[in-house]
Symmetry: C2
């Protein structure tokens, strides 16, 4: 069961002007399962994306990168579950291309205007013909209000759809933002086995789209980790249809631009945290904040070292304040000149360790109270500088093992 | 239950001339448990060690390093379980020192001639007075044949003692080697929560001892990983008492030296692999061999990336040939210029992936047969060079979570 994650109210997900959606059953892996989603964008929309840094990236990731680089204007996104089309070599590239060509033909656009996305099992051949057969039906059923269906249609081991929507007012014009995401395991920065799609009808300078997307990924999806596995298929896409009529945003750091940035960042963070809240087997949502570092990268390094430690994660699962495991993870994070004698550790408000040893007033019962909660803040102060970084993770439970041992069966 | 690890026959563990042992109950954490071991070395013995690279290393590790550096000749090792004396700050240093001083006084040696070792829970104060009280009894019970008791006395979450012994003949003189190890979780190169002690009566040039110990660690204990957690307390100690009467070994790479190196390395590898075989919750012993790399470090990097992947490890637990997870772990190992299109993957003799995609003749049923075995070789060929490296790991099971969630209770 997800940790403090409420089911999205599909009725509250605002349509985005210039975006149409459809989700159908293509029978990719299982029958009677909505497994193929298509998103259409009106001409003139701006699209930017960041993709997995895994060298073994999937065929759709390679094609998506290429098609974005062509700059012909993206008009369609096509997302399948049930098969990742990764570890499939040249044949996988051809099959992904075949689906792009088929969709482009039906839409009378060029194949370079399609972005394909796949998620599911690695190293099995993509059943591209099933996808191609299902495309006409998908196009028949296009509508503006399908965001809830999209959130559901892209799920794999997720236990519930993840979608958020909001409106803001920019210079008296209402601007809508709606986003969905999926992912529950193989979650790790740069990036997770996750797909994230956010669309807005905002008018924004197209040259801001790529830096915006990278800033958002850095503030949201690149801060989550479930198991340290970086997937072959991760993709985060931001779309702007320029239909809201607001004065075109030229600067993200002031005025309307800042309001928009804050809103879309809030959405990105909610979606990213939703992935951790629904992580495979998670029973706790844990924020790990590292302060007092010499640099942001070293803070991140320490935070991820803690977040990846199976010993730390099982202790959280057990609500056992075996907090020395956190200090051990700080110690092996790889900071050569770290002085353990300067390190402080807090669990929520409980001052656990001071200068590398147990705080004299530390009482285990208080830490146990914190450990029993479903939302926990771990705060480590390195005592070396003024930088800080935060990541979000979850505990490691029996269910994580069960889910990943049984995923394909 | 350990994977293909037979119980050592205590009667077959040869005493080592010049070494005496004793194991007693000090009541450190639990009553009626042998938790304090003392090893005495005759004057003139040579001792070398490698310790954890965790910056948050335990008090005994700091003191052990210092005492070895003093070069006064180590005469005693003192090992307690039930408490790691790590994350204990200045107070922890004082308590460890107090135990060294107490033992030194009883033996009429200097405290710098004692090496202390602790393993157990982190961040709890060491009950040093209980240890000091138990030392006289330990010294009363010294004997040469206690290696099996030592193997048992240093256990924490281990399910069985780990000890190996052998004799070799060097220039007509019999040389004995006997070693013990402990460790079952928090296992990771450089080093694991492991303690390893090997003694021999070999005559060897003292200046060879430190390079020998580092070579042995690199070939054995630094190749095992259970959960990627590098402990605060790991130590591997090699002792030579120079009593066997063989011509003094001056070179490890030829003649008697090579015979001795091979024998002690075999012992080190058996002990290291025994730790993985008895790893917390392990049901399978997995060798991961990466070949065709440009350098040994990059091969090791890829091998450890696979060995640490919770998704790979749960797939092995389930005997599910979801082998794309291995390719994904290769992809995120951090080799920037890796070409996925060159990579081959074998599972024992089954040719799984060729040039980054599924091998045309791959049949899942054959991979399933391999996955069902208790000993599995994963072989990845990078196609970039001629270097190779191997690491040893295990699967990730429900029991790993149970053991680590319940460790302190």
């Amino acid at each position: 069961m997800p940790v403090n994650l409420s089911l999205p109210d599909f009725a509250s997900l605002h349509p985005v002007k210039g975006v149409q959606l459809s989700v159908v059953q293509a029978g990719i892996k299982k029958a009677n399962r909505a497994d193929l989603s298509v998103v259409l964008l009106d001409e003139g929309a701006s699209v930017a994306a960041v993709f997995t840094k895994n060298r073994f990236c999937a065929a759709p990731v390679i094609i998506g990168r290429q098609n974005l680089a062509q700059g012909h204007g993206i008009r369609a996104l096509m997302i399948n579950t049930g098969n990742a089309n990764a570890g499939t070599g040249e044949e996988g590239m051809m099959r992904a291309q075949a689906t792009c060509i088929a969709l482009a033909r039906l839409l009378e656009i060029s194949p370079e205007q399609v972005l394909p996305f796949s998620t599911g099992v690695i190293m099995e051949p993509l059943p591209h013909e099933k996808i191609i057969q299902a495309l006409p039906l998908a196009l028949d059923q296009m509508g503006e209000s399908g965001w809830g269906d999209l959130a559901t249609g892209i799920m794999t081991t997720d236990t519930q759809p993840k979608a958020y929507s909001k409106t803001i007012v920019l210079s008296n014009r209402t601007v809508t933002l709606t986003g969905v995401a999926k992912g529950a395991g193989m979650i790790h920065p740069n990036m997770a086995t996750m797909l994230g799609f956010i669309a807005s009808d905002v008018c924004i300078s197209p040259k801001l789209m790529q830096p915006l997307t990278e800033r958002l990924a850095n503030a949201s999806f690149n801060r989550i980790t479930v198991d340290g596995d970086t997937s072959t298929n991760d993709s985060f896409v931001v779309m702007a249809t320029h239909k809201a009529g607001n004065p075109v945003i030229e600067d993200l750091d002031q005025g309307d631009g800042k309001i928009f940035l804050d809103a879309i960042q809030e959405l990105s963070v909610l979606l990213a945290q939703a992935i951790v809240r629904d992580a495979e087997g998670a029973t706790k949502f844990i924020k790990i904040r590292v302060e007092g570092g010499k640099s942001e990268p070293e803070c991140l390094q320490v935070a991820l070292s803690i977040a990846h430690s199976p010993l730390v994660k099982t202790a959280f699962f057990a609500s056992d304040p075996n907090l020395g495991r956190i200090l051990a993870a700080v110690g092996y994070a790889g900071i050569e000149d770290l002085d353990p004698g300067l390190i402080d550790l807090y669990l929520d408000d409980v001052y656990v360790a001071q200068k590398g040893g147990r705080h004299p007033e530390y009482v285990e019962a208080k830490a146990s109270e914190v450990m029993a909660k479903s939302e926990i803040l771990v705060r480590v102060v390195l005592g070396r500088g003024a930088c800080a970084q935060e990541v979000w993770t979850c505990d490691l439970s029996h269910d994580y093992v069960s889910i990943n041992a049984d995923y394909r069966s």
